[in-house]
Amino acid sequence: VKAASARLIPSDADPGATEADVVAFIDAQLAKGHIGSFKGEIRAGLRQMDVLAHRAGSASFAQAAPALQDDVLRQLQHGMRLEGRWSSRHFFLVLLTLTLEGFLCDPVYGGNRDKMGWRFIGFEPRPPHPRCPYRGRA
């Protein structure tokens, strides 16, 4: 997940998914109810990523060169059957959506570390109302 999200929002002159610790957000969400229900699909997708990387001569997706990683992600994006009942395109969209959430969410959710995502886009939310201690409930 870490390697994939780093390709979906890569680091360049500006921080990407790695610096914003998107994977911490996704891990925390997968441990909870609704997003947790995607766990099986995400495991199947990750296994497929390794299979495709292996076929192209790499030990695993995480160890593959960035260009190969992008190629694997493009194959998933264009769609194939994963083991189980899932489509790789749906898996790709779930992963992309969770990565965007983890990049730009309130830091209480674990992602957007040090407000890196928010600083990248110049987003300054108004401070939380003092009466509202319940951020991060989802």
Binding site: T97, C105, Y109, I121, C132, P133, R137
Partner: protein
């Protein structure tokens, strides 16, 4: 879910398990009816299937409010079933406005429009339209007007009636317009050039302190969020507290009503519901008011089957669930160079553009095919940056990711400012746009889910396009770049009407002019279900105003001992 989310609000007002009135649903239609009834002296129990949030829960949280099931349930747990264009039923969460105390008003954007007098007699004006079940309202707009005025005061609606050339007002709105983003002036100037008449959109958001509530703090967390200062005039912030203050109203959250009971004389006697612990409960009353959104109201009436009512309650006409209308929807967008004047001089902490026009609301030329179109409203794109990123990533035919996505984010957040418009267009009623009970798919309590199918009239898309074209023209006249249509000929799925239309003839309507079931003398409906036409505006204010009217009618009928008398024709 914490314990406070399931705790009842207000004292137990029942005696021996009976109240004077039960209201099912606590949103726009339910809370307004409960307020009117409690003030008229009724002891009211409000049953709400969702939790009771309070201001503390409405943190400025981009994930919980906007992107999870805080307001709208998951399709796995509480599905609606939507029949797609190819006739296949699909689980969806579309068609839920919200499940919580206060209903959809809690996370609404609070655009506040009245219907036009002509909206109530469109059938007479447009004539019989092939393929539509268009019908006039049984009441006149003048009967609604005092209730619009009363509701606008209850809510503290802000705006400027004098500058609104389209809607009819007798007096000013209670509060002045909200402060504005500088884009508002630019929209207005461009509209003038094109001969269009932009005016400040009225909002159910406080521009000044009102009835003990603080004014808007311009947090940018408005539509899709709950308001953490209570300045958005929701059923939860503006209506239910007053109902509870009478001491005659109790709101029971996490209570799902699933059957209205009737006696052998055909009168409603009470409501069966599943409480927060999953237990089967029953409450009795001499009046039952249903207001759980047009989709769920149809479902509840259809679920209330009995030997005497094999097709569901109040369904002698077979019209319960039919004439379902979702307001037509479309959007467009443009970009403006961030450092170009006048963008560089605008205060971007101001969230409200608040300009609308209705120059194509009703066209009085019989030669035009587009005669009733609707409303165009300008606004800044939603403030949640995750929505923006998702829009950039997922709006094309193939998802954008990697460097192209980052470049798109840099472009939108560093190089340009964006302006958006929304259109609300007329949806003509059709008999086959309808709600039924799904034969297979059930909710988490094992009750059949509401299945809906939309068979739009051919004119719906055409009138929607004509409004989107107007919006695009304005963006061009403003000098916008990348001016583009982002949604066209779509439906809102949150502005719902129809399914139990009112009328004078029991053969062609479900409810009478008092929104009382033709065949059940003490059963009323006060959400958008009653509307034979939905207007081409968000219908929240109309639902709220009408619910106050119905509450007055219930009190009058009660005084005249008319609520227990069998009435109408059986056939």
């Amino acid at each position: 879910m914490e314990r406070r989310h399931s705790a009842s609000l207000g004292p137990d007002v029942t005696r021996k398990g009976a109240a004077d009135a039960i209201v099912v649903g606590s949103g726009a239609g339910g809370a307004s009816a409960a307020l009117g009834l409690a003030r008229a002296g009724f002891r009211v129990v409000v049953l709400e299937k969702g939790p009771a949030y309070d201001l503390r829960d409405f943190a400025r949280d981009e994930i919980a409010s906007c992107r999870r099931d805080m307001f709208v349930p998951l399709a796995d747990e509480d599905p609606h079933v939507k029949v797609d264009e190819r006739g296949r039923p699909q689980r969806t969460n579309e068609g839920w406005t919200a499940c919580c105390v206060g209903g959809g008003t809690v996370h609404m954007s609070a655009f506040t429009y009245r219907l036009h007098p002509e909206d109530l007699r469109l059938r007479g004006i447009l004539g019989q339209l092939e393929g539509s079940t268009l019908a006039d309202w049984p009441i006149s707009w003048d009967e609604l007007l005092p209730y619009y005025e009363r509701m606008e005061v209850e809510l503290g609606v802000s705006g400027d009636a004098e500058r609104n050339p389209f809607e009819v007002f007798r007096r000013p709105l209670p509060l002045p317009p909200l402060p504005e983003n500088g884009m508002a002036q630019l929209v207005e100037t461009a509209c003038e050039k094109l001969g269009l008449h932009a005016y400040p959109t009225a909002r159910a958001i406080l521009s000044r302190a009102w009835q003990g509530r603080a004014r808007c703090q311009l947090s940018l967390c408005c539509g899709s969020y709950g308001c953490d200062v209570g300045a958005k005039s929701t059923a939860l912030s503006a209506l239910l507290p007053k109902a509870l203050a009478t001491g005659r109203c109790q709101v029971r959250p996490l209570c799902l009503a699933h059957a209205i009971e009737v006696d052998d004389r055909g009168r409603a006697t009470g409501v069966r519901y599943i409480d927060a612990r999953g237990g089967e409960q029953r409450v009795q009353a001499s009046v039952v008011v249903v207001a759980c959104s047009a989709l769920e109201t149809a479902r509840l009436l259809l679920l209330s089957r009995s030997p005497a009512h094999p097709d569901g309650l109040a369904n002698e006409s077979g019209l319960v669930g039919r004439n379902l209308m979702f307001c037509g929807f479309g959007t467009g967008m443009a970009e403006f160079g961030r450092s170009d004047p006048p963008m560089s001089t605008i205060d971007w902490r101001q969230p409200f553009v608040n300009r609308s026009f209705q120059d194509l609301y009703l066209i009085n030329e019989k030669t035009s095919s587009v005669r009733k179109a609707g409303t165009v409203s300008f606004l800044l794109p939603h403030s949640n940056p995750i929505y923006t990123a998702e829009r950039l990533a997922l709006s094309g035919p193939e998802p954008l990711w990697g460097k192209p996505l980052k470049d798109a984010l840099r472009h939108v957040y560093r190089e340009v400012r964006e302006l958006e418009f929304e259109v609300f267009s007329e949806t003509l009623p059709t008999a086959d746009s309808r709600v039924t009970l799904d034969p297979k798919i059930k909710d988490r309590f094992g009750l059949p889910a509401a299945r809906f199918e939309v068979k739009p009239h051919a004119l719906d898309a055409e009138v929607n396009r004509s409004l989107v074209d107007q919006g695009i023209e304005v963006l061009r006249a403003m000098g916008g770049q990348r001016v583009r249509v982002t949604r066209v000929a779509q439906k809102t799925y949150w502005l719902i009407a129809g399914t139990a239309r009112f009328g004078d003839d029991p053969r062609t309507s479900v409810l009478d002019r008092d929104c009382r079931a033709h065949s059940v003398p003490n059963l009323f409906v006060t959400d958008g279900s009653f509307m034979p036409t939905s207007g081409a505006v968000p219908n929240t204010l109309t639902i709220e105003a009408n619910a106050l009217r119905v509450a007055d009618r219930i009190a009058a009928l009660g005084r005249a001992h008319e609520l227990s008398r069998a009435k109408g024709r059986r056939y």
